[in-house]
Symmetry: D2
Subunit: 383 residues, 4 copies
């Protein structure tokens, strides 16, 4: 099963770490640590292998992939010793990374994106191409009546005014071109009624939102503990300090608000009520891709006794995101092949703000995921 992975934001840290890692794993130089599908309980022959993935993508930046990889190595995000081994393969991928098209109308941009996707599929003879957005977080978009109806949307896109935020436009173009779409950021992506209708009409699946890589991952592991123990969480307040490209874009109040809401959702869903406190995101350039999150949880136990818990998380965002990008590409391609259409709610395990009415406790999400992998096909034989 030849599987293409088309990354929006292909020259960013997450994308290049994903490519770098897939190449290193293919060359036998690195273990697939952090790749959920490589744990023994989820390994399945119904999934394309990491080494079978073919990369391409769009970006507004023009920094060469090799130069970005060198910067990642310098920052300790990927190991410098592996850089020489993946250099040539990165240069090959460079041929499939295009500038994000600019046109007069969004309809024309969608056509241009679709042409790039067709070209990519044809040139590499791919069975499936999964489009994944790993670019910076957008501000929350302004509502537009055409978001609710596919015909209205088609008409509006032909007009001179932008109707869709960039992520939704990419989703529209991907689905039109027959490609499943995964939203790895908190941005809109395919989460509009018109795009859901498009996905169903094209019999395509889509997934999202917002890869669960750090503080929220911990929240989804800890919040169930308080819930199951019937302890009453009074305050859950956190701060995220991060540098890097996404840090700068999240420092914008609008993007920050979108992200923070996504990060608190797990609490309300798991606990059944909203504790006091917020999640702050502060940009600290110096920290680069190594994010530090600190959370204070104040809770009430038997007879009202007050207790506290704190945690600090020092994670490397790109190193945590990249293996999930590979997992999602493989799962979404296999789901496409298996005929799944519409929102892939079974992938909630991977997302801060998952699609559908799904469990928010990490272990339950994993159980749903395991069932979905089992349903894809036999585990131990070739597909």
């Amino acid at each position: 099963m030849r599987t293409g992975v088309w990354l929006i934001g292909a020259r960013g840290s997450v994308a290049v770490t994903s490519m770098f890692g897939a190449l290193a794993v293919r060359a036998g130089l690195a273990e697939p640590i952090g790749c959920v599908l490589e744990s023994p309980e989820l390994h399945s022959d119904a999934l394309p292998g990491i080494g079978e993935l073919v990369f391409g993508g769009h970006d507004i930046s023009s920094i060469p992939l090799g130069k970005k990889a060198a910067a990642l190595a310098e920052a300790g995000i990927v190991p410098a010793r592996l850089a020489p081994a993946v250099r040539d393969a990165l240069l090959e991928i460079e041929q499939d990374v295009r500038p994000l098209p600019l046109r007069d109308t969004q309809a024309e941009v969608a056509d241009a994106i679709g042409a790039d996707l067709d070209d990519f599929r044809r040139r590499h003879q791919l069975d499936h191409v999964v489009v994944i957005n790993v670019s910076n977080t957008e501000p929350a978009p302004r509502p537009h009546p055409a978001h609710a109806d596919l015909d209205a949307l088609r008409a509006a896109l032909a007009g001179p005014e932008p109707v869709l935020p960039p992520s939704a436009l990419a989703a529209y173009a991907a689905l039109r071109a027959g490609c499943p779409y995964v939203e790895f950021t908190p941005s809109t992506g395919a989460r509009l009624p018109a795009l859901d209708a498009l996905a169903r009409s094209k019999r395509l699946p889509y997934a999202g939102h917002d890869g669960k890589t750090g503080e929220t991952l911990v929240k989804s592991a800890l919040a169930p503990m308080f819930a199951l123990r019937n302890l009453k969480v009074r305050t859950w307040s956190g701060v995220n300090l991060l540098g890097g490209g996404d840090g700068a874009s999240l420092a914008e109040p609008d993007a920050n608000a979108a992200k923070s809401a996504s990060k608190q959702r797990v609490l309300t869903e798991t606990l059944g009520y909203a504790p006091q406190g917020d999640t702050r995101i502060d940009y600290v350039e110096d920290l680069d891709d190594f994010k530090t999150a600190w959370d204070l949880i104040s809770f009430e136990g038997f007879l009202g006794t007050r207790m506290r818990m704190e945690f600090t998380w020092h994670g490397c965002d790109s190193a945590l995101a990249a293996p999930l990008v590979l997992d999602l590409a493989r799962l979404t391609a296999a789901a496409h092949r298996a005929g799944r259409t519409g929102p892939l709610t079974e992938l909630a395990f991977f997302f801060k703000d998952p699609l559908g009415d799904v469990p928010h406790a990490l272990v339950e999400q994993w159980q749903v995921l395991r069932a979905a992998v089992d349903a894809l096909g036999p585990r131990g034989t070739a597909p």
Copy 2:
């Protein structure tokens, strides 16, 4: 269903907090926060109510329950404003708390314990009496051949030398008297082949070990996160600072070793390997019952990138333990009534070092518990 709860260590902090809380809940003065069985998903009419529990027990201490309750209120473990309301009821319980019997042989001690249990059951016309050990942690016992065989054990107990550690002797006496036994500490309790045989021959259930109240509770919520995400934990090192009675006893190197082993077990079972690092227990009198635990977790992600997490837990041990004691009393009584015999492996949710080959992820343990509660009988009607 009139249910007796006989506490070994009845004048200690955990026991008196349990009694105080049950009385306050019965009087409608406190919410049953921290009582797992009071969450909507586990509520069942097949379980005795908190207000139906009747308390008694043994202790080597002779501090009056009322005085202990006052000390707990002074230390902020139970609310001072509720003390007047439970004073009379505590005085009544005082009638059922006996000095731990001293005799020449362990056989005679067991007889005396049994006589106290019979007396308690008769006086209060109880359907079931659950014996729960909440006394201080014992040093690991020396092995003895009679531990493996019930007949040999009976013979050995009649001799002049002690054969069983105090917790196992209590379990022996309880089972002989027809009472299910719950080991809430890391001590031996019923976990000996001879005692398992006794329980089965008497058609009684037993449960344990070591109530999961603090750091290990967090471990059982967090370790699955690393496992499910296929992240490689390199170091998991922790320190527990605690005062209080159990703090002093755990400062003994032997008891400390027993407890530490119990606390690391969840890691090996959940991760499938033992990371570097230990769990230290240090006695700091000043901290009293408010334990502070700190854990450092160092882990490896994609391409070997090193990351870290830390947490601090400021918990009140007695306030965390007491509602679990009530839960265990109710569950064990209901299991007895339902005819369950032998180890109650379905109660792993409550224990650091559970009996049987059971899941160690907290959410999975809870799912097992829910199934067990469901099996006890209907949820919404009177039993």
Copy 3:
């Protein structure tokens, strides 16, 4: 030396904790822990005793002092067991707490404040009355040309428009009435050229700003460590979570900005440069007066090696502030008696944002303070 302490915000947590504590110390029921002047190295007979302080003040609130004290006891800020012993004395102070005067012009308000101060001094035959602002933090005031000149200020105050923020108006009234003024909050207080001129013309001292009670206290102890070791601080980023009255007022963006700037000043002054990062203040009602602050410090050592430090501070703001209020009252009264006029720069030890060009390392500030106490007079004999 009979010394009056007139508190602006006399019914707030800091004020009532100060009164409660002074009364408890006077009655021999509490040790003066946290009172800097009671350490052996600073004890001086030239200072009025804690027991000699006479309290009064203004407030816009009308909650009785006794009721406020009960609330503080309930919240664990003052010990409930001492409440009965200070009840009567608090009732006496009640006679000297007046509503903050309302008039048509600020000149008239100042006159009314002055009349209250004169009355207080006369009734209690006080040698000195020190006015201390412990009310909520104001937003940063709008500049006004009259701030720079005393004559212009006098003229402007007679007009219908407010010229001074409330704290500066209190300082103006205090100085006019012959009372030294201490600004314990980040608000303007006496820090205007016109008020400095007034203080000098009346031969009065004044002090401020912003009592150093928590996170900034730690910063002033830790920042010198990095400076003296020639380590390069890259990031110093913090968050303060607090409830209580001041928490709510600091949640206002303007007050928040004033406070945050005050909190970062110590870094720039001590390190000689401004590291990246900010100090956030978030209001979390549930935490009440118990503030939690968390700081991340990332620094560079030999050959650029990157290292980190974190700290968490769980402090009770009122319990930390109250003994400093008593210290400042005693020091300012003694300075007044000793003929000191203008800004008391020697009190930098007490403030986040001290007056004058002073050292910011805590130990150096203490050395300056000790020299100032020595200069007040003999240590071991009656003055």
Copy 4:
């Protein structure tokens, strides 16, 4: 002023990081961050420059310096990009690193060490050679009567039994050879009456003990804060997790006890009493040279209100120690040149367990150091 630095443990992490860094600074490739003497307030022409230092030493290991440097670069302790630039200079130093001599009696070992020192001095035409012990921590030595008297010591050393622990034997040999001695570890070094007598008779200075590089550095900055604020520290409890060579040796209970005592001394000296709690040292191989220390401080404020502070320190021991080794070499050489003899108590700033009756607050120690540097000679002209 040509200054030799003879390192006991010359092939260890601290020694090689010191050499590597001095060479990089000399080549203009690195800033002397962490070198206290390079801060503007301490810079003095009376001190030898970093670039003027000439290195040699003893070690029982035979790992080549270049190989050790490569391992340090791999572990992120020194920057890999500087390795090529210092390779040749490290090879030169290799000529001056000798195996630690083995002989039949300690007197003969001392002679052999002395011969190596003489040879080093002669070959490089050095004005001063400072011997610094940076090898692993020894267990506390057994007392011996000859430790108290120089003549008795000389006699005993000629016997077949070892009389001195290795660090004291090195100090003895150094002083006999006319070299000042610095003890950078908690080991005995020159701290014996017989060796003090030897130093005075040879008119030589010596210094120590135990470089203050991490948790204790923070303690010496924070403990004065509590003392000066008259707050009562109830508990100060800490744990140090560390790998690396010293970690393994500190895991030995005897060495651990020596180190822990050294680490708590600052508290008793600064606070005037010993709070509850201990300092634990745990060996965790995985952490390598990057130590993590966590401390909990529980304290009492006004009216007994209980508060808490915690800190975590993630430091690289060798990167923190190496610049201090360079500082100490330069200061001790200058002190020797200036005629100082006996213990250099003015260097307390650098040590956990300083010689003499000295201040323990970091800022006061720095003030003493500054005065000592001033006394060495003019700041701005050539010596």
